[in-house]
Amino acid sequence: MKRLSTFLIYALLILGSLVMFFPFVWMFLTSLKPFAEIFELKVWPQAPTLDNYREVLFKTQFPRWFLNSLIVAGITTLSVLFFDSLVGYALAKLRFPGKGLIFVLILSTLMVPTEMLVIPWYVMSTEYGWSNTYWGLLFPGVISAFGVFLMRQFFETLPTDLLDAGRIDGLSEFGVFWRIAFPLVRPALAALGIFTFLGNWNAFLWPLIVVQTADMRTIPVGVALFSSEAGTAWNLIMAASSLAVLPVLLVFLFFQRQIIEGVVLTGVKG
């Protein structure tokens, strides 16, 4: 009985994997095809080539775009992890007047689509000279309501006794947050980190608006250049997308256990 259910679970997961992973594999296989082969209706490349990768890496500024995206996504992620958990903690575990209102106010910033915000942001950027700089690229995202909400939800599940124990031990409120609460929500932090990084890694609209010069482009803005009026260079888009995605997925594959599970063992559960 137990055997059977284990077998069924694996069967389901494998079936699902095919559905989930096939398009990804196709993207990668397409990146190995020359342009003329793109429109042939075969999944497997007939004459596999690395030309697309050569073109993307050496004939465009892709390495620079990669670096820019890494800087922007990296700094944003660190900042979000710190500030969002700070706010999430305050909203979940501290009592103060206006708490509900402040929470809804912060949440409401998720409800106006970015496309309408880029103009006021750009006016702000030109006024303060942030246009075409790294700070210009990352300032709208350094704290996110998404993360505040996520962290609030996770901090809420922490037993209050545990925090009180810290308070009795003479920790300041920041100490309680930093030494006790913060480490306990590491699964949530890992998730938030991944989402924030990816959100910035794939962001298009704001980087498009705030960047003027080729050397400040991020990956998505750069990749969009492969598409134009007369058609789309799918072979190059797929090569660039693979180059953008594979490192992220590999990092996720190898470090997920450390960041998600390893922590549970060290955490004290009430």
């Binding site: 429109f39 103009i119 006016v123 030109t126 608006i209 134009s228 789309t232």
Partner: protein, 414 residues
């Protein structure tokens, strides 16, 4: 440190003395165009030592948004490349300033009549380097194999060829005679070509009234939708083949006999197609019937950011971009047809196997006076799709389209 300061100061002084002006030029990013403009700027700067040109490029798909968001903040292009169909919208929203009146004379006498569409309300808002038109691309190998030696001259010939080239296997197509593309170039075909060939007119002269809601218009529209419903030319490109530009991609894959496309597609088709292909002028309603085509262009406009000394420099650069010399270079480097009459008449062009049919078509091509290019394209695409996808009565669908488009025009001109 002091040396740096002194040097900077000296440079600044030199710049002041020379009256150095820096202007910014924007276009969408396309490799051959970017390289060509970089070369042109070198030439221009050499000839005009007081002017520096910054060249910045952006993805085609988000180009309008980029411009729309930048200019209100006061930071953006002085000279900007734009599709002529966006012009009325941009002018109304204050994104362009008119050129001095003396350029109107130049445009009227030296440029293809298409370029008249660069005027709004009698004022000129820019000039084109290159123009484009539509033509029939055909797969010569497929046509020959089916026993056709020449491309079709009339729509009747076109339809019988297309029907013969369409191959089905069960309920799936393996080859199309013609790939219908309402949201590709076919909406232009119906609006500017078929309506006129069938004796109608799409719009009033001032472009403010829809005139196709009559018998001639309906006949043209029904004729087009019948290609699929009655004449079996194949099916919609995107039902046949995957991808964004399914009709063109399927043609490149060698699975379609004929498509109608713009001269801007030449490069892509040349790169991808592995068979013999040719280009022909659009078919006629009947032998000796009216020749008509849809022409369009990208133009260079002046934004309100070009003021003071930047304005004079910008005008100079714009003039340079549309000069005969530049247009000749542009044709060679980018492969786009020149906008000046003097260059279009060049027999080397008119006799060219690929460019020839496009160039000849330019002489009788018309540019639609769009006020909301995307909205108007959608009206026509939807009119066709209602009939082809939802089996609506063509007369009903056509009436809806005319009403909808009139509303767009009224909304703009109110």
């Amino acid at each position: 440190m002091r040396i740096v300061l002194v040097t900077l100061f000296a440079l600044w002084g030199a710049a002041l003395a020379q009256g150095q002006v820096t202007i910014t030029y924007w276009q969408y990013d396309f490799r051959s165009k970017v390289e060509a403009v970089n070369e042109l700027i070198k030439k221009f700067e050499a000839a005009n030592p007081g002017i520096k040109v910054q060249h910045q490029t952006f993805p085609f798909d988000a180009y309008q948004q980029k411009v729309a968001s930048s200019i209100p903040a006061g930071q953006g292009p002085d000279v900007v490349n734009l599709f002529y169909g966006w012009l009325p919208t941009w002018v109304k929203a204050g994104y362009l300033q008119p050129m001095p009146a003396e350029y109107i004379k130049v445009l009227d006498s030296e440029f293809s009549s298409l370029a008249q569409a660069a005027k709004v309300g009698g004022k000129l808002y820019g000039m084109p380097t290159a123009v484009r038109s539509l033509a029939l691309f055909y797969n010569r190998d497929l046509l020959n194999a089916a026993g056709f030696k020449t491309p079709p001259k009339t729509w009747d010939e076109f339809l019988s060829m297309a029907a013969k080239l369409t191959v089905k296997d069960g309920n799936k197509f393996t080859q199309l005679g013609y790939a219908m593309a309402p949201d590709g170039q076919d909406h232009h075909l119906v609006r500017e070509v078929l309506i006129r060939q069938f004796g109608g007119r799409p719009y009033s002269d001032d472009g403010r009234k829809v005139l196709y809601d009559n018998a001639a218009g309906l006949k043209a529209f029904t004729f087009y939708t019948d290609w699929l419903k009655k004449y079996n030319v194949g099916t919609l490109g995107n039902q046949f083949f995957p991808g964004n530009n399914a009709y063109r991609d399927a043609f490149i894959a060698g699975k379609v006999g004929m498509i109608i496309d713009g001269s801007f597609a030449i490069g892509t088709i040349r790169n991808g197609a592995k068979f013999n292909w040719g280009v022909a002028e659009l078919p006629l309603e009947k032998a000796g019937g009216r020749k008509i085509n849809y022409g369009s262009f990208w133009m260079h406009g002046l934004t309100p950011l070009a003021t003071g000394p930047k304005l004079a420099a910008s005008l100079k650069f714009l003039e340079f971009l549309v000069s005969e010399e530049t247009q000749r270079y542009w044709l060679e480097k980018v492969g786009e047809l020149p906008a000046r009459k003097s260059l279009i008449k060049d027999p080397k062009l008119t006799l060219d196997k690929v460019y020839g049919p496009f160039v000849i078509s330019l002489s009788y091509a018309k540019a639609t006076p769009f006020v909301d290019e995307i909205g108007q394209r959608k009206v026509m695409t939807d009119a066709i799709n209602r009939v082809l996808l939802e089996n609506k009565d063509p007369a009903e669908s056509w009436r809806i389209a005319a009403a909808e488009e009139q509303k767009l025009l009224d909304n703009f001109w109110k």
